[in-house]
């Protein structure tokens, strides 16, 4: 299984938000969205990764991109992690049916958690760019997302 490729429409999916509503494919439309799939809330690499993205969140917003964190953790765990880090990046939970959205995007690890992957979609819901790290322990720098935004704008 590998991450969905650029040029393909995003699949149908449903993820849970902390507020209790469903985040579905329609929510991708009308703007640039970056789904940040990460293995586990509170784990060291994920903490570094999301912390760094948080630091440059203003820059992403200026570029018109909205980031979401996606994991198979429960919404409560994701929220506790957000609070611990002072993170404003919204989190989406693929808890039940577990991993179904991750599977739809091609990023469900055999261990039952998301691969570390980034999926950028355009206002039409089509994948503009995607990236999956060779190992879930690798940390993709924010520069990859900026480069992809540059390429999409070119």
């Amino acid at each position: 299984m590998a991450v969905i490729e650029a040029g393909l429409p995003a699949p149908e999916f449903s993820l849970a938000t902390y507020e209790g509503d469903a985040f579905t494919r329609e929510r991708l439309e009308g703007r640039i969205t970056v789904l940040v799939f990460y293995p586990f809330a509170f784990s060291p690499v994920c903490t570094d990764q999301l912390s760094i993205y948080q630091e440059v969140l203003d820059d992403f917003e200026q570029r018109g991109a909205t980031l979401y964190g996606v994991s198979c953790d429960a919404v409560w765990s994701q929220q506790a992690w957000r609070e611990k880090l002072g993170m404003t990046i919204e989190q989406l939970s693929d808890f039940e049916p577990k991993g179904e959205a991750c599977r739809a995007f091609g990023v469900l690890h055999p261990g039952g958690f998301p691969e570390r992957a980034l999926v950028m979609t355009g206002p039409d819901g089509v994948v503009l760019w995607s990236h999956q790290t060779a190992s879930p322990g690798d940390l993709p720098g924010a520069n990859l997302i900026f480069d992809a935004l540059d390429a999409a704008a070119a």
């Binding site: 903490t47 570094d48 990764q49 999301l50 912390s51 760094i52 948080q54 630091e55 440059v56 820059d59 880090l85 002072g86 993170m87 940390l139 993709p140 720098g141 924010a142 520069n143 990859l144 900026f146």
Partner: protein
């Protein structure tokens, strides 16, 4: 930047609250290298990293960047404001000026510029070290030291 003129240049992106950065620091300084330090404070993991980076830059405005830098890495357990003042005092800095500078927009912007530069260079964790043809991220390991010694 410090180290002998003409020595191999190394750029380190680091964070004063990061234990691996401290572990890199002392052995790095024993090598004949010209080292530039750039701030990469990750505030959510290291709540005092930003304040410490700004304090080092403020000390730098009084000519004491590296002395302050070394004093921070020498004692990472003490990074609260009174500890920063104590370091400035020990180095004989003008305390009022130090305190105003470390809270100034100019200093914050300087730290921010380092951070953004790091992001653009692909830094994703600290420490990240760049030398000609070499890039190393995270905890220093024997391969890194061999590469730096071997040139």
């Amino acid at each position: 930047m410090r180290g002998p003129e003409g020595a191999r240049a190394v750029i380190v992106y680091g964070d004063y609250e990061c234990p691996f950065c401290a572990a890199l620091e002392a052995p790095l300084n024993e090598l004949e290298l010209r080292v530039a330090f750039r701030h990469f404070p990750v505030r959510s993991s290291h709540p005092r990293a930003q304040a410490a980076a700004c304090a080092a830059e403020a000390a730098g405005l009084q000519g004491a960047f590296w002395a302050f830098h070394d004093a921070l890495f020498a004692d990472q357990g003490r990074l609260e404001d009174p500890h920063l003042w104590a370091r400035a005092q020990a180095l004989g800095l003008d305390l009022a000026r130090f305190d105003a500078d470390r809270r100034s927009d100019a200093v914050a912007e300087r730290v921010r510029a380092d951070f953004r530069g790091g992001i653009r260079a692909g830094v994703a964790t600290t420490p990240t070290l760049f030398a000609d043809g070499l890039r190393h991220s995270g905890r220093p390991d024997p391969e890194l030291w061999a590469a730096l010694r071997g040139g």
